[in-house]
Amino acid sequence: MLVTLNWLKEFVDFDLPLKEFCDKLTMMGLEVVSTKTVGINEALLSNVFFAKITDVKKHPKADKLFVCKVRADKKNYQVITNSPNVIKGCFIVFATPGTTLYDGTEIGERTIKDEVSQGMLLARQHLNLEEKSSDIWILGDDEKTAKEKFDVWAEFDVVIELDLTANRSDCLSVIGVAREVSAMTDTDLIVVKPVVQESLEGAPSIEIQDKNLCPRYASRVVKGITITQSPEWIKRKLELCGIRAINNVVDATNYVLLEYGHPTHAFDFARLDGGKIIVRKAMQDETITTLDGVKYKLSDDMLVIADENKPVALAGIMGGENSEVLESSTELLLESAYFEPTSIRKTAKSFGIRTESSYRFERTSDWGIPPIALDRVAEIIMQTTDGKVSALTDRYVNIFKDKIVNIKEAFVSSKLGIELHLKDVENYLKRLGFSIMVKRNDELEVKIPTYRSDVYRSIDLVEEIARIYGYNNIPLNYFRPKVDFESLIRGADIKEKIREILIGIGLSEAYNFSFTNEAGLELFKINDKNVIRLKNPLTRDATILRNHLFPGLVSSVQYNNKSSYRFDVRLFELGNVFKKLSRKGMHSETEHLCIAVSSADTGYGDCLGIVEYVMKKLGAVSFEVRKESQAFLHPQNSATIVYDGKSIGIIGELHPEIAEKTEMRYGVYIAEIEVASLEKILHNPVKISKAAKFPPILRDLSLVVGKEVQARSIMNYILSQGKWVKEVKFIDMFTGDKIGDDKKSITFSIVFQNPEKTMTDEEAGGIMNGLVSKIEKEFGAKLRGV
């Protein structure tokens, strides 16, 4: 929201350096985001003048240029301009040589094709009065009006841009901000009550049918007016605050909107059927065309302002075209009402419109102000035209009550952590316009002003007190929370642990978005049956919640291949995936770990090696890898990771078709595992046994098995055979003619150890023989001859 410094000063007398003023306002909770100096400031005062063009002739050597004689500050100048609109005798704004404008332009004296040009004819943009001017600023040829115009517009001022929080509807106006300034500087706020001469018989006829949605409606009729332009001082304020000037009536309502923060509306009274206003809910499918020419179809929960026959305004949001004030209008009905905020918000939102009016009403307007704002509108209109104003109609439903809030001295201290006396509390609250109704020993009874809809509890008063006391004057207390055993003993963070492990062996952590789309599902061969779709996606690339992490990581590999020229990529990601469950309306959100590796010399074994390392570092003694196909993995090189009898993830080579489509240089190997399962492994207690003192015996075992037999199953089997098997290692594997097409040969190395005594070769041999015959039976294996 925009306000100007001078406008604020109409209501509160203060004198602070601009920066200090803005900082203080920000520290009160009204954040100043920018300031812009406009008009003639002190630096420009001795260089920029109201001036007259005393002569204009064409430049003798340039077709499009004019040579002007300028009389400014009792001196004569010659200026060259390309503006075709300068005529002899008109008044303009002139900057003498030596001026530095706001935009940094330095004005001097120069010669253009043998003609001297001293100084510059200014455009409005040079005084920051508008963003971009199309021509220089011509004030007309009547000296009196030109000078008046100049004096109004060129006055020095500062436009202050505020970013207000949603709760401070009371500050959406110049007076609202001035009120804060008054509290901040402890200076009185002076607002003169508007005065209206009631000279017209009667009062408007107002019927409120829905008193919940419109508890107050104040109105006056004005007759015999002329639609004309507003005076310059109104236009200037409106435009500096971002509202275009239109005519004296519309400008008056906008002026009051900015000044008091209360939206009002003017209807052409002659166009209201039956000469009356009915505030009612719309009829289903009734339509209205608003001032901006858009036609809306209404539903029966929306509030409209109607005459006897038709809706004439979308209540609190925008007036209707059918009752708009036209240049020919002579009679007005002025509206100043209070509308229920949520109804306004709902309607505005359902049509996707936001106006200065709806913005204020949906943030809760001041229910005490409608007649005052109404009178202010009438007062301003009457300053610009003849006319007669009717008596006031103020339909007022008694649902508003004064809010009284009690506040205890101890309560303030206990919330803020400062010692504050009741008389300070009283002083702060009074500065903000709160009235003290009753004063007790340790407690105040406070009446909340009608404009502070956001204050209704003691805690709200605490915030007000803190704002005046100054947030930054409250001391720091190095607070330590009480010991919370339950959560403190919970143990290591699984994700921190996983990151530490993977980063330790050379993987890097990726973060991908949680979304995919139909094309993504298709590319990555993901079944779409259980995916969750966004009801209101923003862009086409993010319409579905991810149910796997690997597509994101594969895309990251692709990105690094293509954009970073990295063909050795080892990435992992920890993130949540989402799935619909078969039970209607239910879904699951699961945390996954995904690993993706790709490089010239990376294979499936590297990927499994990483998984094995993670599992073992988390405390797993063994796990299984079961060959099982996945649509998005190579049909052969695709497996399920099984721990403790339960599938916890998948591993394999990215389907070559996908790798081809994503233009991977090398194969991509991926694993995706549930984090909860890894967490369980981490939280399994570790059993520590005494270090075995006696020497181990090492035996190699070479077996020929069917191709489908997984070496890890045999290793796990050997490990499960008795306490003397200490360790099993995979050594190598080969296939070939020598052992048959459907067979492979695997070699393991087994460590035997007896914790109680030195094991003999014979003992080891015995165990080995037993083991071999069991394995032969279990896996259809044959001992390979050496």
Binding site: P341, F479, I503, E509, A510, N536, T539
Partner: protein, 341 residues
């Protein structure tokens, strides 16, 4: 024969002392003392001698043997000494390079910020909680005193998946979830991913990360909140960091504030990072609104508390000089490789 032995002794002495390495020395040992060695073959000829002669020659032969052994020992010692000497003299050709390197892994900058923050609050006695990203409207809004049609919802444009389920717009719903589950005292931090229906550009992202903090106890004050945030800021950005609070508005805290920390780059003089203001705004915070306590069934008269929430991207951008929020989600190794620790 005696002369023979003398000759052998002499030859052995020459041969042994001429041995330049352990291998030749071993050959000499075998030649003279081996099973089929010179000395053995001499002794095998003793058969034709008288007993006395045999005795004498045998004795002599043993002396020769002992002497040869002595020569070998001496030669061996010398060779060893030379070898030791030369081993100490010769070294690895180049000590500056390794032959086997291990790949480096890198942290994501968001993780670095998250971990640093979590570690700070853990050291103060906070525990870490998490909650779902796909959240019920009740926890995301109503429980946090943001009823339907509240204008504050304008700041929370949300992705919905059903009538009342959305991707959480902040980590604050976890406050409500934890409070519903547990009784005070509470001191938790909640790192996590959040979503808002914002178009993606250099400073906006529909996906971002926050860290929420919540403390509830019987007499927690605004001064406690300030002390906590000051401590955090000093641990995060340096001992001399100052904090500044200005009033702000969040429906779930009252009083509410926006936290700024003095710029750690320029120390408050004004620079690019703080856009010349000397301050960097990093967090929203405040005292837990009594309505929130009521919504989770806490006694609002008995308990007070404070809450705060920071955006991890914002902190990471300011800390590491990353200017475009999209870079956090590109996973470009050229960026990641700079985050070794």
């Amino acid at each position: 024969m005696k002369g023979e032995l003398e000759r052998i002794l002499k030859e052995a002495k020459n041969d042994i002392s001429a041995s330049k390495d352990t291998k030749t020395l071993e050959e000499q040992r075998i030649k003279y003392l081996g099973k089929k060695g010179v000395l053995k073959s001499i002794l095998s000829k003793l058969g034709g001698l008288s007993e006395n002669e045999r005795k004498e020659i045998g004795k002599h032969a043993n002396e020769v043997k002992t002497q040869i052994e002595g020569f070998i020992q001496t030669a061996s010692d010398t060779l060893e000494a030379v070898a030791r000497e030369s081993r100490l003299k010769s070294g690895i050709a180049d000590l500056s390079v390794g032959t086997k390197t291990y790949p480096l892994g890198f942290y994501n900058p968001l993780t670095i910020v998250r971990d640093r923050m979590v570690a700070i609050f853990k050291s103060m006695g906070y525990s870490v909680e998490e909650g779902p990203e796909l959240e019920e409207e009740f926890y995301n809004f109503e429980a946090l005193n943001i009823p339907a049609q509240h204008p504050a919802r304008d700041d929370h444009d949300s992705f919905y998946v059903s009538e009342n389920e959305l991707l959480r717009t902040h980590t604050s719903p976890v406050q409500a979830r934890v409070m519903k589950k547990r009784q005070p005292p509470l001191a938790i931090v909640v790192p996590g991913r959040c979503f808002r229906r914002d178009a993606v550009d250099a400073t906006h992202s529909h996906t971002f990360h926050q860290m929420e903090g919540l403390v509830v106890d019987t007499d927690v004050t605004f001064a406690d909140l300030k002390g906590t945030l000051s401590l955090w800021a000093r641990m995060m950005f340096g001992e001399n960091t100052r904090i500044r609070l200005r009033p702000d508005f969040f429906p779930f805290t009252e009083p509410s504030a926006e936290l700024a920390v003095s710029c750690w780059v320029c120390g408050g003089k004004g620079c690019n990072v703080c856009k010349g203001t000397g301050w960097v705004e990093l967090a929203g915070c405040g005292m837990v609104d009594p309505e929130v306590f009521k919504a989770v069934g806490y006694d609002a008269d008995k308990y007070s508390g404070f809450a705060f929430g920071m955006g991890l991207e914002r902190i990471a951008m300011a800390l590491f000089g990353i200017n475009d929020i999209r870079e956090f989600y590109e996973n470009d190794l050229r960026l990641l490789e700079q985050f070794v620790k």
